[in-house]
Amino acid sequence: MDFPILIVGGGISGITAAVELAETGREVLLVEKEPYLGGNVAGFNNYFPKLCPPACGLEINFRRIRSNPLISYYTSAEVQEISGTKGEFRVTISVGARLINNRCTSCGKCTEVCPVDREGPDSYGPAKKAAYIPGGLAFPMKYTIDAEICQKEACGKCVEVCDYNAIQLDARPVEIELRAHRIIVATGWRLYDASRIENYRYAGEPDVVTNLEFEHLLATCEREHKKLTRPSDGETPKRIAFVQCAGSRDVNHLPYCSAVCCSASVKHALTLAESYPGIMAEIFYIDLRLTGRNEKLLNKAEQDDAIKLTKGKVGRIERDKNGNGLILEVEDIMAGTRRMDSFDMVVLAMGLVPNRFLPAITTNENGFYSAGQIQGIYPVASCKRPMDVASSVKDATAAALKAMHR
């Protein structure tokens, strides 16, 4: 009997690889560093081009995980070390101190008494305490405690109210040694640090947000039936600018194209147009890259009066001294002019960078994992090159087959 196939990363790609392998009869082990599965997409409002919620596909996959005994998963866990070779890798995993254990029934009493507020994506639902659950569709459906902000034994209120003896504030991380037949690396992506593009004032201006933050904002508004407001003063913005290629296609930052940001911004603009009449969206771009059937989104945006598409690179963003919001300086290529215009809110369409966990796997010069470097280890999806969800799912399924090669 082969050792299980290890999958590092429990986002949409890792989950896909896990269920596809398990349903083919292979034992798999999924390791996720966050307390929940689903990765980035779990906090998304919708996918392009269908504008449908990611939770829908995730739910099906979570059900497949729940009902399949061939899948084991560790959350709050990170791979520390990999040694050995194809067929018999030795892996050390550190399973973080999850202060709430499997006895948790998700009754929610800990959140009710928790005195510590927690910042986090708004889409995580109303209760944002150190003891929390990221929304009603989270998997696994059990609470967790943010160990960094929890007052631990100094407070202990949650321990008192928990009827199920599920909270251990003194829990320590444990190290687990495993053997693995093959390893699929699906560590995914994060945004390039927006504060490094100084001209765009992300660090000092609350109304300059990243596309991921805007996604979370839309998720909250859509799910919770809330009004869309801007961070600085809670007013409803009337004009929102989308700045494409924020970091991408820029030799000073990311020389590559991040592949998803054009479709994402057009998706955001269309979501605004549909759900928030009265808000104007203007997208500033170099090229609009919506390939395949995503083109249809672009057609819709072109026909929508609430959306304006302007070819031009945004040079800088500044707060208007007269209180008229944020001023964008744009080189309007079609008009052949330099334009200054004011907006209530600016969304930076940030580029993607790969999440890495092991220096041992070679990367290309952009920091993405290269395929085929170590026999039996397969990097997939957005830690390999920037790609959208549809492509990631495809690549993860393909990698599952590579991991089954004899």
Partner: protein
């Protein structure tokens, strides 16, 4: 039969559990019962196992939390477990310690027990012989990758190619783009290496000059007839379709001048030209020739920007004196291809112009091209020696699969004639189980993506065979061991099941009688909903089992002013949305009674009339969104519900009932607030309309 109730998580505080267990005793004589303050705890599970063992029960009702939580804890070999969701659907969303909440909990218990009493034992469908060989149709890059990867995983693969050689489009290329980072040189094509590996693999059988005569049967057992003059027949378990694409017919692009002169070529022709022929001094490329154009191909063909940039380098390489013009709308070089674009841009003899071509006019000496330059906003005129049209990608027709299916010979298509699937989350779920499209027949894509796609589709093909061997359904009801069983004596050959099955699971014999192919089935139950004679059912989901649930509840008489509303929720999105509402403690009317269904399309009309004659005041059906961007996991379940809704309105009319008594709504899984609004507003509306007159009959 046994029952375990949990009093944890507030359930015991909100509901009189003693009374609940008493109700169970009234419903099922001598039912073995237990109660525990934390049923999912180790101690609780111990008790539960003892209960089941002592009672010798093979059916167990657990009245506690949602079936979506603690699934691993409550999974028991050889025992059918019915989860009665008192937590998320009752206690967390209704007033505790309240008469109506108590009644709601008791009715949900009754429904769960009724279901357990009405279902049959599950015996999976496993064909006598399940074949593990796999057929790959089309020997281009996707097909070759699929073949080699499948064979490397230990499966025997039959690769059928209609031409006399392997490689397809990729095999005809002069050169390839630089590897990944885009900085390097153009590479020599490597498809022939892949083709040699395929030909040399001991687990691969290649059939050149062959086409498909017919494919019949079902996953695990497809019979394939090849047409190659040799009467070859194969038996395979599953199929990968990688028949690729063809360029859009350039003669239909009137103003592009194709066909008027050999100086106007397509990308594909120029690929061949570059290998041997002389390259003139001036070459002009026109991007989006047909693509991104409502009159031709509304979509972006994805590969052409990079392909044209690559060919621009052919020109420069083969004729260093040459100048290149590229007319584009947007340059779409995604990911690391961007760096390749930069490399091309840095060549002083390659000029990129953003614009739309107005006319292409060849004469004996040259070709004149007029372009509306989008930057200058004026018409410019260019002279060149050769024009290359970047024609778009048209998927090949899957009709050539010659499927012997009642619903057609090819794969059902989504817009733009690409084969249909939930292309974001589940790209390989074509509507013909066991037959997986890969590469450019599925979506426009480049070489790298086609490779990945070939492997992905092969993975699903292998998985399907393994699932059939175990008698299990594939996604989305992965692992389901039930399948549709037909009571043929009462079948009237009305053909509704054969027509409405989204997966083509039903064929017909010569007399028009439905022939079921259970391995093709994805267990959505739409046939259960479609059958007017009510002869189709699954072991644990049948006309009888759901009817029994509907009729099990106690309906108070009209003077008590306690309406009863039956809510059919699709288990895929609406049910989890209700759970999420529970987690958020949103309040619901206690008059609702919830029955989950496999798909809204599985709701049979008889359940509606059962409910109305039993005295329910209204019926609400909540499912996933239909339409072009459908979210229904079974493609058109919700659409069918809408169509059937018209018939139901007629039923209401004949019963002299108000049209409001039946309502259908669609939600997304994240619509927990919306679903609260839908349900509570419906209850209020029905309260105004007043009780169902059949209540007291």
């Amino acid at each position: 039969m046994a029952l375990a109730v949990c009093t944890g998580c507030g359930i015991g505080d909100g509901i009189d559990m003693e009374h609940l267990m008493q109700v169970a005793g009234e419903e099922v004589d001598g039912i073995a019962c237990m109660k525990h303050p934390a049923l999912c705890s180790e101690e609780g599970i111990d008790h539960l196992l003892r209960l089941v063992r002592d009672a010798g029960a093979d059916r167990l009702a657990i009245a506690a939390c949602s079936p979506r939580v603690k699934s691993e804890q409550f999974r028991m070999d050889g025992v059918y477990v019915e989860r009665i969701n008192l937590r998320e659907h009752v206690v967390w969303v209704m007033e505790p310690d309240d008469e109506d909440t108590q009644m709601c909990a008791e009715d949900h218990l009754r429904m769960g027990l009724a279901n357990l009493g009405a279902i049959s034992d599950i015996h999976p469908y496993i064909p006598e012989q399940v074949h593990s060989d796999i057929l790959v149709v089309g020997g281009g890059l996707a097909g070759l990758t699929a073949t080699l990867d499948g064979a490397s995983a230990g499966y025997r693969v039959h690769l059928v190619e209609k031409s006399d050689s392997l490689g397809g489009y990729a095999g005809r290329l002069y050169k390839l783009m630089p590897a990944l980072d885009g900085h390097g040189e153009l590479r020599e094509p490597d498809t022939s290496v892949l083709a040699e590996q395929v030909l040399a693999h001991p687990e691969v059988e290649v059939y050149l000059d062959s086409t498909i005569g017919s494919i019949s049967g079902e996953p695990g057992n497809f019979l394939v007839q090849l047409e190659n003059g040799k009467e070859t027949s194969l038996t395979v378990g599953s199929v990968v379709v990688s028949t690729g694409w063809k360029p859009y017919d350039a003669t239909r692009l009137g103003h592009m001048g194709y066909g008027l002169s050999p100086k106007i070529k397509t990308l594909e022709e120029f690929e061949k030209h570059s290998k041997r022929e002389k390259i003139p001094d001036r070459v002009l490329f026109i991007l989006c020739a047909g693509s991104r154009d409502e009159a031709h191909l509304p979509y972006c063909s994805s590969y052409c920007c990079s392909a044209a940039l690559k060919q621009a380098l052919y020109v420069r390489e083969r004729n260093p004196e040459a100048q290149v013009y590229i007319i584009y709308r947007d340059i779409r070089t995604m990911g690391f291809q961007e760096e390749f674009y930069k490399m091309v841009q840095s060549d002083d003899a390659i000029f990129l112009t953003s614009g739309v071509v107005d006319s292409v006019s060849p004469d004996d000496a040259r070709v004149r091209v007029t372009v509306k330059d989008s930057l200058l906003d004026e018409m410019i005129s260019l002279e060149t020696d050769m024009v290359v049209l970047a024609t778009g990608m048209v998927p090949s027709s899957t009709e050539d699969l010659q499927l012997q299916y009642r619903l057609g010979k090819g794969l059902p298509e989504i817009e733009y004639s690409f084969s249909d699937s939930h292309f974001i989350c589940f790209p390989y779920e074509t509507r013909r189980t066991g037959i997986y499209a890969a590469g450019t027949v599925r979506a426009p894509m480049d070489l790298e993506s086609s490779r990945e796609d070939g492997a992905g589709a092969m993975m699903k093909a292998i998985q399907c065979i393994e699932c059939v061997k175990r008698g299990e359904a594939v996604h989305p009801r992965a692992g389901d061991l039930t399948f549709p069983e037909l009571y043929m004596d009462r079948c009237t050959d009305c053909k509704r099941c054969t027509e409405e099955c989204p997966f083509g699971a039903y064929d017909e014999d010569e007399k028009g009688t439905p022939l079921s192919n259970p391995s093709r089935c994805r267990r959505c139950g739409i046939c259960v909903g479609s059958c007017p004679e009510r002869v189709i059912g699954f072991a644990d989901f049948s006309i009888n089992s759901v009817s029994a649930m509907i009729k099990s509840i106690h309906v108070p008489d009209e003077f008590e002013e306690k309406p009863r509303i039956l809510v059919f929720v699709c288990e895929n999105d609406a049910y989890p949305a209700l759970d999420a509402a529970g987690v958020n403690r949103l309040k619901f009317s206690p008059y609702i009674r919830i029955i989950p269904v496999r798909c809204l399309g599985s709701v049979n009309k008889v359940w509606i009339s059962d409910a109305l004659s039993h005295g329910y005041d209204g019926i609400l059906q909540i499912g996933c969104k239909p339409g072009d961007d459908y979210q229904c996991h079974f493609i058109h379940g919700s659409e069918l519900t809408e169509q059937r809704g018209e018939n139901l309105q007629e039923t209401l009319e004949t019963m002299m009932l108000e049209p409001e008594r039946i309502r259908t709504r669609f939600v997304e899984i994240t619509d927990y607030r919306e679903i609260q609004k839908i349900i509570n507003e419906y209850v209020e509306e029905l309260e105004l309309i007043g009780p169902n007159p059949f209540k007291s009959l």
